[in-house]
């Protein structure tokens, strides 16, 4: 075990996977000499050369689209999109192309492509750099979507993504890059998809979150503990595929659920989680499933962002309401 922050864990994973398999190639904006705007690819070009760590023109559709072709040629591309918001420029190359190639060709053409992007707010970025729009990538059959919250999971899920024979979108919490630090297993470490992590066991209320929201949920759980409420926190980490079993079992025990997302309330992935729990754990529910979310607004101006992103207080209120129902 080595303590690393998230961006170190990601960088080291990229390095070891590139070393392990010389078909792995990185491409993105500023991933080369600069090492990525968050240094997730620091020194990798120096080590593996400019043919394997490739600075691309500012062309998100081109980055995702050429990754499709590179995969078709037998390589294993990992594309970095500088900020999730700019994935929209290449949106048509994701769900309609990358995710569909296997289905389109009845299995003849497969796409071992990983897309990585930082997302979410909390670091006072300019507009369009902070929105947490995971839901827009969760409705594209043929593409997996994962959102690790810890450095260890960042390693395990990124490794899994790179080795997955199908496309995987890996969401990285921008504000966790440096803030999140934990023990990362040395050597081979894989986290299979479709399996949530119990970040904190508890018996009274189940709080479900992912990515940066897991830390906030854990803070809320601490606060609730002071009130005598024993909160279970589930780190969903794999959005597609979704770990329906863990959700069902957890809420069947606690009877109360709070789903937390940073994204705007309406149409977020939290709605999928809530709808799933409502269906699967129906007979056990003792209170309405609460959704704690960003407001139905674009990510706001930096001076207001702390009011926008769900904080421990907002989650705590929902926990209390669930218990008091």
């Amino acid at each position: 075990m080595t303590v690393k922050n998230m961006v170190e864990a990601i960088r080291d994973t990229l390095e070891s996977e590139m070393e392990r398999d010389d078909r792995v190639i990185l491409l993105g904006e500023d991933v080369g000499k600069s090492g990525g705007v968050f240094r997730a690819t620091d020194k990798l070009q120096e080590r593996f050369g400019a043919d394997r760590v490739v600075d691309m023109p500012v062309s998100e559709a081109g980055i995702i689209g050429t990754s499709i072709g590179l995969a078709g040629s037998g390589l294993i591309p990992i594309a970095e999109i500088q900020f999730l918001g700019f994935t929209q420029q290449g949106f048509h190359q994701l769900g309609n192309q990358l995710a569909r190639m296997r289905y389109r060709t009845s299995g003849s053409l497969t796409m071992p492509v990983t897309i990585r992007a930082p997302y979410g707010g909390g670091v006072r970025t300019p507009e369009l750099h902070s929105d947490a729009f995971e839901a827009l990538f969760a409705h594209s059959p043929g593409m997996k979507l994962v959102a690790p919250a810890t450095a260890a999971d960042a390693k395990g899920m990124l490794t899994q993504a790179i080795r997955d024979p199908d496309p995987v979108f890996v969401l990285e919490p921008l504000r966790g890059y440096r803030l999140v630090r934990d023990e990362v297993p040395d050597g081979e470490h894989l986290v299979p998809f479709g399996k949530a992590r119990i970040a904190r066991p508890g018996t009274d209320v189940t709080v479900v979150g992912w990515s940066a929201m897991v830390q906030v949920a854990l803070q809320a759980a601490e606060l609730a503990a002071a009130d005598g409420i024993d909160v279970e926190v589930i780190d969903l980490r794999s959005l597609v595929p979704l770990d329906v079993d863990t959700l069902r079992e957890a809420v069947s025990q606690t009877g109360r659920a709070v789903v937390v997302q940073e994204a705007p309330f309406t149409g977020g992935f939290g709605s999928e989680v809530a709808a799933t729990i409502a269906e699967e754990a129906f007979p056990y529910l003792e209170a309405p499933i609460a959704r704690v979310a960003g407001f139905d607004l674009p990510f706001p101006m930096p001076m207001l962002e702390d009011h926008y992103i769900p904080d421990a207080q907002r989650i705590l209120r929902a926990i209390r309401a669930a218990v008091d129902y």
Binding site: G62, T66, I68, S73, L109, G194, D245
Partner: protein, 367 residues
């Protein structure tokens, strides 16, 4: 090699811009440039394949009218652009990334025509691409396959694999953002890829002049740092020559080429379209006079490389080809509804598996 450059009207007639384009055979079949060195037998095969293309359309449109086929995009008038470029490549090492109007090239690359028909009918068996892996599936979204072709070519280069990638698309597609990003990346990566724009004058109902103020799609290559050439796309020898040149340069590490094959869509955009609403009759008359098959046949005949016997043999070959394809098509059993759930991912996953289980169970219950 000297090539005759002639001024030709833009394909749509209207506001015809003067564009310098490579032409070797005049519309009346007269040789006006240096023909590429192609063996007589292969020249005959080229004409035969062009004839087959015309036959595809006739047959497919008839099937569609009888409800035996889905929407079909005819390619009549564009046979030279397809065949000239296809014959300049080597399907045993080169790759082809098609759009939706390249059925003829796909067949040349080893796709059984029956399978093409199955695809058009919406049968999942039609989706399988040949195992050799050098033919990509038809792309429906305009220009979306261009970055794929670039990535593929770049990947071949990175792996020191032989082979050049060819990709076709329309004039309409050349106005999509994907066109721009793909060509620019191809240029900076010096990827061995040939972009063939079949400028047939129309993006469904919109003539080129209302799509762009540019005189020629080929002019766009300058903005990506590689050569762009306009050719008479109804002159199979010109298309062949330009493609062969581009292929030689790509194979030698010289990077991409953009070829604009200025051609004519003689039929509808697809069987769902009614071109009489928007194609001026004069345009169609003019286009008909520039028929690529007649032109090539006239020249081959004048060179004693074609005659009635060969024509008959070619017709017979086309008949046999079509008969066999239709037979295979007819013989294919209906798809099994459960096939819906195949080939999404390497592993189906629990949620989809549950959906499939329910589906199967319900079909059993319902009868």
């Amino acid at each position: 090699m000297t090539k005759a450059k002639t001024k030709a009207a833009a394909p749509t007639g209207e506001h015809a811009a003067e564009v310098s384009q490579l032409r070797i055979l005049d519309p009346d079949g007269t040789l006006i440039g240096e023909p590429p060195k192609i063996e007589e037998e292969r020249l005959g095969e080229m004409l035969r394949l062009m004839m087959l293309g015309r036959r595809f359309d006739q047959k497919a449109i008839a099937l569609q009218r009888r409800g035996k086929l889905g929407t079909y995009p005819p390619m009549s008038g564009q046979e030279a652009a397809s065949v000239g470029s296809a014959f300049a490549m080597d399907p045993t090492i080169d790759h082809f990334v098609p759009s939706y109007r390249e059925q003829l090239i796909m067949v040349h690359w080893g796709l059984p025509f029956s399978r093409y028909l199955l695809q058009r009918m919406g049968h999942p068996a039609g989706s399988v691409i040949p195992d050799h892996g050098r033919l990509w599936p038809q792309q429906v979204a305009l220009a979306a396959h261009l970055p794929h072709a670039v990535g593929l070519a770049w990947g071949l280069k990175l792996q020191d694999r032989e082979g050049v990638v060819m990709t076709h698309f329309g004039d309409g597609a050349s106005n999509e953002g994907d066109f721009h990003e793909a060509l620019n990346i191809a240029g900076v990566r010096k990827a061995p890829v040939i972009f063939i724009c079949q400028n047939n004058g129309w993006a469904i109902s919109i003539p080129w002049e209302r799509q762009s103020a540019a005189a020629s799609v080929a002019d766009r290559a300058a903005g990506y740092g590689f050569p762009g050439v306009a050719v008479d796309g109804n002159d199979v020898l010109a298309v062949y020559t330009a493609t062969a040149d581009a292929r030689a340069r790509a194979a030698a590490g010289g990077g991409p080429t953009l070829i604009e094959a200025r051609t004519t869509r003689l039929g509808a955009h697809s069987t769902a379209d009614d071109p009489t609403r928007y194609v001026p009759p004069e345009w169609l008359e003019d286009a008909t006079r520039r028929d690529p098959i007649a032109r090539f046949r006239t020249w081959l005949t004048s060179q004693n490389m074609w005659d009635d016997d060969r024509e008959k043999a070619a017709e017979q070959w086309c008949d046999d080809f079509m008969e066999q394809a239709i037979q295979e098509y007819d013989d294919t059993p209906k798809p099994d509804p459960e096939q819906l759930f195949d080939h999404l991912l390497a592993e189906r996953g629990t949620r989809l598996q549950r959906q499939r289980d329910d589906f199967v169970a319900n079909r059993e219950t319902d009868g």
